[in-house]
């Protein structure tokens, strides 16, 4: 009976090592090696299981996920030997994620496009999940800089009261992909682009449950640039004033993630699965 109880206990809490995915185990081991801790193993494992079952996990180059504490949440789940560095004091809030509390502070996610094996021209995806509502003047930046004078290829949420504006670009060069659009204040925020050989472009912004098709006439190839989170960082120098008042609980980038659904204005396909899985994860850990 005791053995049965122990097994049930492990199943309920996710504490049984054999029940965890190899990816979850590798992530936890790397976090512990860095002196960190993953308190919500079961919830992390459930999220990864959902993403893996649906073929999404295999598409990612990096996935940073807010968990219990800041060290563990800086380990890239896809490549656990990679740990994001903190530039000039960005902060972490238990379970909720990362915040850039002042000018010039950001999280270096530690990747260059040239090192990515999944996000390869002419297709790819980048995204974040907000766990905390932005203030009217909050600014979120997630993306890649092409040059100091023209930091394109970015995923940017910008809110300035009374105006609200979104600019989101993956590997677009000549002009903003989307501008003048109402910004979502929290939830899922992602961008995917694909140029299939048929020439039918898929170039879309996802804000929580809504899918927005963007202008898609002038794309360029992916540039060799580093990718940062939470704030702007151009060619290795944090040079743009950025203050983020909300929290980002998840960063990811990788191959093209499909978002087509029956309703063209509603998020569908893999993006819908990704968004739902992240929403469930953050709901679950907040309930603990």
């Amino acid at each position: 009976m005791n053995n049965v109880f122990t097994l049930r206990h492990q199943l309920d809490l996710g504490g049984g090592g054999s029940l965890l995915l190899p990816e979850t185990k590798a992530y936890i081991a790397a976090v512990k090696a860095e002196g960190g801790e993953i308190l919500y193993e079961k919830q992390v494992n459930e999220l990864l299981k959902t993403l893996k079952t649906n073929g999404i996990l295999q598409k990612l180059d990096f996935l940073y996920l807010a968990n219990y504490e800041g060290i563990g949440s800086r380990v890239n789940i896809i490549s656990p030997s990679v740990m994001a560095s903190i530039i000039t004091g960005i902060s972490f809030s238990s379970k909720k994620g990362w915040q850039s509390p002042g000018v010039g502070q950001c999280l270096n996610l530690g990747y260059k496009r040239s090192t990515m094996t999944k996000l390869v021209a002419p297709k790819g995806s980048i995204g974040v999940f907000f766990t905390e509502t932005q203030s009217d003047k909050g600014r979120i930046f997630m993306g890649a800089m092409r040059s100091a004078s023209s930091p394109r290829n970015s995923l940017l949420l910008y809110r300035a009261s009374p105006a609200t504006r979104i600019v989101a670009e993956l590997y677009r060069d000549a002009e903003n992909a989307i501008a003048g659009m109402a910004a979502s204040s929290n939830g899922y925020f992602a961008f995917s682009h694909h140029e299939p050989s048929s020439g039918v472009y898929a170039h879309q912004l996802y804000m929580d449950t809504v899918r927005h098709a963007a202008n898609n006439t002038s794309y360029t190839s992916i540039h060799d640039v580093n990718i940062y989170g939470c704030a702007a960082n151009i060619n290795g120098v944090v040079s743009t004033p950025m203050t983020t008042t909300g929290r980002i609980g998840c960063f990811y980038a990788g191959d093209y993630i499909d978002g087509l659904g029956a309703d063209p204005a509603v998020i569908g396909g893999e993006h819908a699965i990704f968004r739902s899985a992240l929403a469930k994860y953050f709901t679950d850990i907040a309930e603990l």
Partner: protein, 71 residues
């Protein structure tokens, strides 16, 4: 948006710039020919080895525009 910033000389910026424990990096920013860091870095014990230099810097308040710089 007003921010409390440390104003550094070029020499101070070079001295504090670099890597700190737990993969933390201090990276002063250049604005209008001057070097700055957020004043909040002085509250983070990770940067303790640089605290004497940071404490010797002037604290200034800088008004940043609400509008996003043109990308």
């Amino acid at each position: 948006m007003k921010e409390r910033m440390l104003k550094l000389t070029c020499e101070q910026a070079n001295l504090v710039k670099g890597e700190y424990p737990h993969k933390h990096i201090l990276q002063p920013i250049m604005m209008a020919g001057e070097w700055y860091l957020p004043a909040s870095v002085m509250d983070n014990s990770v940067y303790e080895s640089a605290i004497s230099i940071l404490q010797s810097c002037c604290v200034v308040e800088i008004e940043f525009p609400d509008e996003m710089p043109e990308l």
